[in-house]
Every structure is written in C-alpha cells, then in structure tokens.
Point group: C2
Chain length 292, copies 2
C-alpha cells in the first residue's frame, strides 16, 4: 500500500502492463510491471485487476491507456480522429467503472489510407508535454509495430504503422528461416550490412530471402543472420521516409531497439534524438489534470 498517491496510471498493452502510483504533481511514487496485458485477460477479469491495483497503490482514480480500450481489451474506447491533442483525448475518455477511465486511441479514418494507434498517442503527446520534444516534431516508436508520428503544434496530425517487429518475429519463429534467426541482434558490422541492403532494397519480400540464400551459400555466417535480417527490416523501414534528413527524429521507448533505429536514422542522413523516459506518465498526468 502506497500513501500519497493521487491516482493510478496504467499503460495497458497487448502483452505487458505497467502501473504507476502518481502524485498530484505528476511525480511517480511507485511502479510495477507484469505480463497482465490484454491477451492474458478476459473482459470479466478487469474489475479484480483494478481492485488489486488499488490494494497496492491506493484507492484513487485509475486512468488507463493502450490496448485495454480496444475490442480485444476491457471495453472499447472509440478512436479520436487526427488531428488529436491531449485535450481531445481527455474529452473522449471512456468511464468504464467507478473512478476508472480509458484513454481512446487515434485513427486516420478518411484519408488516402487508414491507420490506428492505441497507447502511442499518450507517449508522443506526453513527450511534448514533458519538454522532451518540441510541439511540432517527427517521432519514431520502434516495437512490434513501429509508428512514425508527426505532430504540429502539439497535435498528432498523421502517422504510419510499419510491421517491422512483427515481420521479424514471424520469420524467426514460423517461416522457412525459423531457427536460423535466434542469434543476438546488436549494432555491428552484420547489422550495418543488412541496414544498407534494406535501405537499397525495393522489395522486402525478396531481400529477406537473401538471408536464407546467403546462409546456404556460405556468404552469411549463421551467427550473423539475425543481426543482418534485423538490419534489412529496419533499413527498409527507415528508407520509406524521405524526410529524415530534414529534421530531427525523436525516438521513443529507449532500449536496444531504439538504439538500432538511431543507427538507421543516422545512416539515412538524419539526426536521432533519444527522448528521455517519462513520456507515458507525463501524458497520462496531462489527461488526469484535464479531466479533474
């Protein structure tokens, strides 16, 4: 049991959940991470989960963002259309239980192509609110589904989801290269060779087969295959943007994957900026302040 918590913030994702006991000034008093993501839960499980969080962090309000608000989560919080600000997200929060609000995601609904996000919007707008990035900026959020997000004056105006991480996971576990991509993925010569190949590629589905052919023909050592394949995928991802040389790329999420994207952005002539941690709680705190 934590004292002083004004409310509980939850980043409730597909596979992971991170909960924060928050002070009224936005400071994080305590936090916990576990694998109680939406895939591990049925809709009937959420009230007990909320009770457990309150038992641990205090009986105050709960604000949750992420896949918890999707059709596979607790209760659907309909998407806000871009351009999306923290104010519009706060207005569109859904009350799902006494003192429990779910933050909606953001959609590109009517444009040339459809796209959606849930959870990333809090991190992007929280980064701006916390001063980690300017109000008009380009963001990159590496992960299973990398998001390239553009903001103008503190509003998410457009974004693109790229299934880079999912492709790597599928190939590593289920495809013809299953078992061949279990090596370490880190920056180094194999990753950078893959990166250059991915940037030059005009057909990802062809270039990835070169990993298998390279292994069979002894042109690619098995120990380098995973890093090379990751380089190809990340290279193809960054190469589809033609604006990386014109403005800084604000990388969210930290960790090993963001470091690899930083290398890739640099290879494209861009300037990566690693945003400090704390964007998610800054974003949820803004929602709490606006909702209060």
């Amino acid at each position: 049991m934590v004292d002083r918590a004004a409310y509980i913030a939850v980043d409730w994702g597909t596979t992971n959940r991170r909960a924060y006991a928050m002070a009224s000034d936005g400071a994080v008093i305590a936090s916990a991470q576990d694998d109680r993501g939406v895939l591990a839960l049925g809709p009937e499980d959420y009230p007990a989960e909320i009770a457990a969080l309150r038992a641990r962090f205090g009986a105050g309000p709960v604000i949750a963002a992420g896949m918890v608000g999707s059709s596979r989560g607790w209760c659907e919080a309909p998407y806000v259309d871009a351009p999306a600000t923290l104010e519009r997200l706060a207005d569109a929060c859904r009350d799902v239980a006494p003192g429990v609000r779910i933050v909606p995601g953001v959609a590109l609904r009517d444009g040339r192509r459809p796209d959606v996000m849930r959870g990333e919007e809090i991190q992007v707008l929280g980064a701006i609110r916390a001063g980690g990035a300017p109000p008009t900026a380009l963001f990159c959020q590496p992960g299973t589904h990398n998001k390239w997000v553009e903001t103008v004056d503190g509003a998410i105006t457009t974004f693109t989801t790229v299934m880079t991480g999912e492709f790597f996971a599928l190939l590593r576990s289920h495809g013809i290269m299953a078992g061949l991509l279990d090596g370490v993925v880190s920056d180094g010569a194999p990753f950078r060779r893959g990166l250059r190949r991915g940037i030059a590629s005009s057909n990802l589905a062809a270039t990835l087969f070169e990993v298998r052919a390279g292994l069979l023909l002894d042109r690619l050592p098995r120990s380098e295959a995973a890093a090379y394949a990751s380089g190809v995928l990340i290279g193809a991802d960054v190469a589809t943007r033609d604006d990386l040389g014109r403005r800084p790329v604000h990388l969210l999420g930290g960790g090993r994957l963001s470091a690899l994207y930083a290398v890739a952005v640099t290879e494209m002539g861009g300037t990566p900026v690693i945003v400090p941690e704390g964007s998610i709680t800054a974003g949820i705190h803004a929602i709490w302040s606006l909702s209060a």
Copy 2:
C-alpha cells in the same frame, strides 16, 4: 504395377511429392501425388520410399528433382551456378543409391546478391524443351516462394525469389491478423483494389497494416480482407520488376495462384502467358535422355 515404364520421375518438394511412370519417349504413363515431401521424411526413410515407388511404377531408374537434394532432404546435391542449362544439370546429378539420381538446384553465388532454387530449374528448362516458352524468356513461378527467372538461349542466367506466399501464410496463421485472413482469395474487386495498392506501395510492412486498420475502421469488410491482402502482396511483388511491359511473362504452375499473377502482370502493362502443364516431366525427361 505399371508396365512399359522406362524410368520414374519424381518432383520431390518440401511438402508434396509427385511421381511419374515415364515411357522412353517422355510420355507420362501414370502418376501419383501425395504428402510425402521432405518435411515428412527423415534421411533413413528414402530407401523404403524408393522401393515403394518401384513396386508401384516399375523397377527402373529414378530421377528426382527438388528439395530432396537439399540439406533437409535425402542427400545434398550441390548447386550448379548460373548460367545453368539442362546439360549442366545432367552432368551434376548426384547418384544417391543404385539407379537413383538427384538433380541439383541452381545458385547465384558470386553476384551482388545470393539466391537459390531447387526444382524450379527443371520446370523452367522443361517448359523451353517442351516448346511451351522460347529459349530466351522471362518466367514467373508463383508459390510459397515466387521465382522470377530469366533465361537466355536455354540457360537460366538470373532469378529472384520473393517470399510473397510465405508472408501471406505467416500473416494468416500467426500474426496480429491471424483469423482475419481466412476468406476466399479470388479475382474480383477486393483483390484488384489490393493489387493497385500493393503496386503503389513503397513499404510492404506498412501497407499490410492498412488491412488491419481498414478492418478496425470499417473501411474494409472482413469478407474481403484475405483477397485484399493477397492483392497487396502480389502487387508489391510484380511492381518490383520494371521489365513486365517489354516482354511476355511465362507463368508456370497453373491453377488459381497463376491466374491471380496473370491479373497482376496485366495490371502492370505486361502480357501473361500461361505455360501448359507438363514442363516438369519434360525437364526430367531431358535429364534422363542426357544421362542415358
């Protein structure tokens, strides 16, 4: 037991096997298809499989092509480097047991990018031998791994493997869209919309996420998702060739998938030519004649 068979031809693939009792003039006397592909067999199983084929089709020589000659098959038959002709393949066949020969595959070993094939070479060169395509031609072999193959004067000079079918299978069974792509894939408005989107796409890993976003935002009916996604993948595949408008594309394999590629080639301004069946046995018969 079949009389008159001069030898047995086997197209021995990853998941399927097709065996033919062959007359000395190359006519097919009888054939059988089953699921005894290399993934279903260990190296120790092959002698009994050969005995069973001989019990059924006659005690003559056996010539087998395809993944049976890979490291996952019976016995590795090292790749022939491109340019590869039927004569060079015949010279490089590997005798693995009394009266049993395995046809090698073809490799691009030293060029800008590595690539390999096993089994497709027999079908391409057999098509030329049977008169189904000219000696200098462009071929397309749709499947799990689509091959674009160029020949000059009856020799395979270069080729590109595209993992189009594997990507579709992975997404349908294992990814975030698992369960959403089980609908019928056939030519029609959804396939053609996907095709045009795939042709215009510069990033397959982003464009495929539009399938999920389109479903979530009610822009894509669930019943159309599989055909649309297949269109995106095949569109991206054909769009990476810049020569489709300049010469006929000889489609091998027949069936539903070749028909979809024919639509895609036409959309790119090209002229698809469906090659009649019989290319594989024509190719193996040429190997048999050259080996005799």
